[in-house]
Amino acid sequence: MDFGVVELTDEARAFWAELREFLDEQLTDDLRAAVHVAGSDFYEPFQRAMGARGWLMPHWGTDEGGAALDPVRRHILALELSRQAAPINIIDTTAIGAEAVKAWGSDELRAEVLPGVTSGAIRICLGYTEPDAGSDLAAVRTRAVRAGDDWIIKGSKMFTTGAQVSQFSFLLARTNTEVAKHKGLTMFLVPLDDPGVSVGPIETLGGERTNVVYYGDVRITDKYRLGPVDGGWSVLSAPLDEEHGIGTANGQGLGEINGQGAWHNRSLQRIFAAAHRWAVTPDADGDAPIDEQATAARLAQVAMDIEVARSTPGAMGRVVAAELLIQDAADLIDLAAPDSLIARGESGAVEDGTFEWGHRFAPGSAIYGGTVEIQRNIIAQRFLGLPRPLMPSASKQSDPGKG
């Protein structure tokens, strides 16, 4: 057990200084404005600049386009990018697709895709969820039909953030309708420059721009299949389990223990920091909100929730972090009301509109990457040993939880 400060080597210190200098140069007001407007947490010059340093896949070897970063420097990189709210969403989705290409792709596919991934020229978005299948992901209906040596992709995907700036989609498709639903799926890397692909924007409550993507008879060669035919659920599950917080713990004692909860907890930390600044700022009479005991207690509650969410492990940590974020974002917009209602950029906005944003952004945390209800089902069955419920479709197909 160790929560102490890490003694850094000179190399690690130098790396951190280099990184801070890099981010000072890159994270300009122009970048912030462009990212805010475009809404996909993506900025191409930044992605390419990261790529030039090997920092898009930082743990890959330098011969693979990575930077061969050891765990400490990898952690420093993640910490600083997060602390400075660098636009990394599409970097992250690309990394998921890239790992699958590395693990399952042919030499030809790897040569075609990976250098572009590591340079920042190629981005990959995630084609999982559909208009009619989100939580019940194994029920996806986008089809991949064999046509000679090729496949024809037909269907639609929902909430494909970054599709408008990506070259490929890492896509889950149905290749077999005769077997149990999760046994008839295959993963593909689908080029998005095909004329059959059309991308339609969707604005979210939280301000993110995402997309619906239609695949109208998109023809791809078998080169773009990732993993075994009908074996897609396993290919997908490794990153999904990672998303659900059901993976191996960080061996260095550096990372968070709460799985996807770390991402939501970061948002809560950001809102708390703004609330703390707001609370200690005195008005013209010299009175600060924190002087009022009720206000101080509410702030204390949020600080405590941050620690609680950090200390709750794995998949449970994700559920707790998401729900505390939602609850506390709602409470903090109340605390700083009415000026908390004014958005960033408008005259009179409090703390750059953080509370206004936080309240709109928070609900997504209990939905994205699998709803907290699905998570609770997984926890109940896999961790508490509770029996599986009999679903209406169970008579036709076996449970997606197994193999």
Partner: protein
């Protein structure tokens, strides 16, 4: 951009020694403290035979340790003993004794050391009054009804008070051996052990440790409470299925389990900081304490509810947990007061870390 905060580890893992310690005491309490023993002791809140056996294992003496034998148990180690104590609801003054032992050891004077030796060999029980003595207020003291002496903060003095007769047992929801301390009351011997700032500091640290170890006990209690609910949900059938298959029931148990797991880890973290970086413990100990209380309360409420009519009877073990989830911490007053303590720590400069 402001200076980056230092890089910290976030390693909750127990060492091999700590795992062995936890397992040893888990086994002791599991074997020696079944719920029947808890029920049998409810009249007094104390099982003397079990206390002797536990002290023989070194549960109190390890808190002060023997430098020649390789040192003392850390606060993290002590939470690993307090957890199974809480899980099995042991009717023993374990936490009170560890807190008293630490105080007596820190005092180091002859009378304190003499009491410490007797305490460590279980030939006496020393309780600690958690609040300062106030005229006209007779505070409830945990383990007061079985105590040979009570350490209390009276005015500017830290006093060891030996009542001439045992303090009267006040029956309470947890069936704990509570008694009222009356500064002007029953005759007894008063020994002043410290005064002024030293007395204040000793009591503050004692309160902090009591909260930390109570947090650990409640984390264990919560885990035990959830386990009862899970077992019931697996075996009880309704509408043709085990009731654990119904989402409302499964989800309520998941949330209770999440509280238990989180409070366990947060208590370890608070213990680590208490040992290594006490300034941060000013925020983390009250957080761990409050979260453990809320988790225990929720776990026992869910546990009773999931077991339906049976859960609501005195025959259910869950009701033993339910009464102690509140009973153990509330002797120190309203838990929500801890939010003020946390707020003070924030005002004094503590802030949560920005993580990756």
């Amino acid at each position: 951009m402001t200076e980056s905060p230092p890089l910290r580890r976030n390693d909750y893992a127990l060492s091999a020694d700590q795992r062995a310690l936890a397992e040893a005491f888990e086994e002791f309490f599991r074997k020696e403290c079944p719920s029947s023993r808890v029920r049998d002791a409810e009249a007094t809140g104390f099982d003397a035979g079990l206390w002797t056996d536990l002290c023989r294992l070194g549960a109190v003496s390890m808190a002060v340790g023997d430098p020649a034998a390789g040192g003392r148990a850390s606060l993290v180690d002590l939470t690993l003993v307090a957890e199974p104590y809480g899980r099995y609801l042991a009717p023993l003054p374990l936490i009170e004794s560890i807190v008293a032992a630490h105080m007596l050891e820190r005092l180091g004077t002859a009378p304190a050391t003499e009491w410490l030796h007797r305490l460590a060999e279980a030939s006496c029980v020393v309780a600690v009054a958690l609040s300062p003595v106030q005229a006209g207020r007779r505070q409830l003291v945990p383990a007061g009804a079985i105590a040979d002496a009570v350490l209390c903060h009276d005015g500017a003095e830290l006093v060891l008070f030996e009542p001439a007769r045992p303090l009267a047992h006040v029956r309470n929801q947890a069936c704990a051996p509570l008694a009222r301390l009356d500064a002007t009351g029953p005759a007894g011997a008063r020994t002043v052990l410290a005064h002024g700032p030293a007395a204040v500091a000793l009591m503050a640290r004692a309160r902090q440790e009591w909260k930390l170890l109570t947090a650990a006990a409640l984390a264990g209690l919560a885990a035990g409470a959830v386990e009862l609910g899970i077992d019931f949900a697996k075996s009880r059938h309704a509408f043709g299925a085990p009731i654990g298959t119904f989402q409302a029931i499964a989800h309520s148990l998941v949330d209770a389990a999440a509280g238990a797991a989180g409070s366990r880890h947060l208590t370890w973290k608070a213990a680590w900081f208490s040992e290594h970086e006490p300034a941060s413990a000013e925020a983390l100990v009250p957080m761990a304490y409050l979260h453990s209380i809320r988790s225990a309360v929720r776990a026992t409420a869910v546990g009773v509810h999931v077991q339906g009519g049976f859960g609501f009877t005195r025959d259910s073990d869950e009701q033993l947990y339910f009464r102690r989830a509140k009973g153990w911490p509330l002797v120190y007053g309203d838990p929500n007061h801890e939010l003020s303590v946390i707020a003070d720590a924030i005002r004094n400069g503590w802030a949560p870390q920005m993580t990756a």
